[in-house]
């Protein structure tokens, strides 16, 4: 598996898109720091961008990589390599190269700005960790979708829909249901509903860490009580981890049964 990972990783590292992605984060980081003048404010703005954009890029890159490396995959399938190693290797290759662009691209401007001497270091690290998680989650979901669909256009369509659902529609449904059932106690429901969307989960996690949960009102208090504690943090991390493990398991399973 590690050989495949290595080759997928190198293949991506020399493609133009990783540089574009890297430069984009570099510019974003620099711009936000200049505009905000304060590290903690920049971190909040950054969160809003990361939470929407990282899943989108992960989804698109995952689907695109799968379809464009089909020939490579077929070449590998005829070699004495386990099927699961081929697909898991490719997945980890894509996801880790994306994660690297993100971490380095955002890291450089913040390091130069003096993040290591600032109290915002933990917030910033949490931001990067959730960004990496989101990359792995959405790349895995994209691979699952691509493995299911032979047709590229369909695969792309479903992948974008998935992103749209997680980033926008889920919240809308969530909000509407909160309004609709406002007479009932909703704290448990909203806690659970948050766990079922990695984007929401990451957002809540960062907001709570930034100690601005007061902005969230009553629910914020409930969330603070749950996610703000170490126990909540552990639960949230485990939930994010499951969001990586479950799609990865599906990649493994579908790849095992697929014809090429």
């Amino acid at each position: 598996m590690f050989k495949i990972l290595k080759y997928s990783f190198y293949d991506l590292m020399r493609s133009r898109w990783s540089y574009v992605y890297f430069l984009f984060y570099l510019l974003l980081g620099l711009m936000l720091l200049f505009l905000n003048n304060a590290l903690s404010n920049a971190v909040i703005t950054m969160m809003n961008v990361i939470i929407v954009l990282v899943p989108l890029i992960g989804t698109i890159f995952g689907v695109m990589y799968y379809y464009s490396s089909r020939e490579f995959t077929e070449l590998l399938l005829a070699q004495p390599i386990k099927r699961s190693s081929i697909f898991l290797g490719q997945y980890f290759g894509v996801a880790s190269s994306l994660a690297m662009s993100l971490v380095i691209g955002l890291g450089i401007p913040f390091v130069f700005y003096g993040i290591f001497n600032s109290s915002a270091i933990w917030d910033f690290s949490l931001l990067l960790v959730t960004g990496v998680f989101l990359t792995f989650i959405f790349t895995a979901l994209a691979f699952v979708i691509a493995l299911f669909n032979e047709n590229k256009i369909k695969g792309f369509g479903y992948a974008i829909l998935l992103w749209l659902f997680m980033a926008v529609i889920y919240d809308a449904i969530f909000l509407i249901s909160l309004l609709y059932f406002q007479e009932y106690p909703l704290d448990k429901f909203s806690l659970v509903a948050t766990l079922f969307n990695p984007i929401d989960l990451s957002r809540v996690l960062i907001l709570l860490k930034l100690d601005i949960s007061a902005l969230l009102g009553y629910t914020g208090a409930v969330f603070q009580k749950f996610f703000g504690t170490n126990f909540g943090l552990v639960i949230a991390s485990i939930a994010l981890l499951f969001w990586v493990i479950i799609p990865t398991f599906f990649i493994w399973r579908i790849a095992k049964k697929k014809d090429f």
Partner: protein
């Protein structure tokens, strides 16, 4: 060497293989023929484990293929369409495959010289012409010294000189006692190199034997007419 028992495969509603029974002994050149869509490539891909059969069994050297992958160390496969990751250079692709197979002793340099590929070694694969890609494909296939070689349409896009060299290469490999499986539509090529042919028709084996036996069976004077007579009787 290869034993296929009662192999069935369908893609959706399209039944491609309908009960293939085939035994291929060690040593010799076997050609798999058949009209378009008769299941040649599917059969080969089943042997390679790229397509998973619905039912039936395949054995290579007496071992069932199920849940195995190491047996592919014994196989060199030339895919039908030569498509490679475009970002790589020819040299890097060769090195990568060697690394993936964990072998250092290969004949790549010899083969690169044979097909005049030196000028292309530092070019990216995406910039190569179809015929050159096919030559690279051939180098990648023949550079490992495996006892079983599977060639899917090996003559695709080759110029006459390379075609000739390929024929000599195949014959030389046969002399070493290897088993070579070929699918091709070029009948003159098949007639020249094969020891035995397997004719697939609508997912079943219609005929297996030498070219002379086929001529006798169809009562035709030459190989081309023999094949044509099978095809025309099936098209009616």
């Amino acid at each position: 060497m290869i034993e296929v028992k009662d192999l069935y495969k369908k893609f959706g509603k399209n039944e491609v293989l309908k009960g293939i029974d085939l035994t291929i002994d060690r040593g010799g050149i076997f050609s798999i023929l058949g009209p378009n869509g008769s299941g040649k490539t599917t059969l080969i891909k089943c042997v390679l484990g790229m397509v998973l059969q619905d039912s039936g069994q395949i054995f290579i050297n007496g071992e069932s293929l199920k849940n195995h992958f190491k047996y592919r160390n014994e196989i060199d496969y030339l895919p039908q369409i030569a498509n490679f990751p475009g970002n790589l250079k020819v040299k890097e692709l060769v090195a990568m495959l060697k690394d993936l197979r964990n072998t250092k002793t290969t004949k790549d340099e010899e083969l690169i010289a044979l097909f005049n590929l030196e000028p292309f070694l530092n070019k990216k694969l995406v910039n190569l012409s179809g015929g050159t890609k096919q030559k690279v494909n051939l180098v990648l296939t023949f550079m490992f010294d495996s006892p079983l070689i599977i060639l899917d349409e090996p003559t695709n896009g080759l110029d006459p000189i390379s075609h000739l060299r390929l024929k000599n290469l195949i014959k030389a490999e046969k002399e070493k006692g290897k088993t070579i499986l070929i699918t091709s539509h070029i009948l003159s090529f098949v007639e020249e190199v094969s020891d035995e042919i397997v004719f697939l028709l609508e997912g079943k084996i219609y005929f297996k034997g030498s070219i002379n036996e086929l001529k006798t069976k169809t009562a035709q004077p030459d190989f081309e007419h023999a094949i044509a007579s099978i095809l025309s009787s099936s098209y009616v």
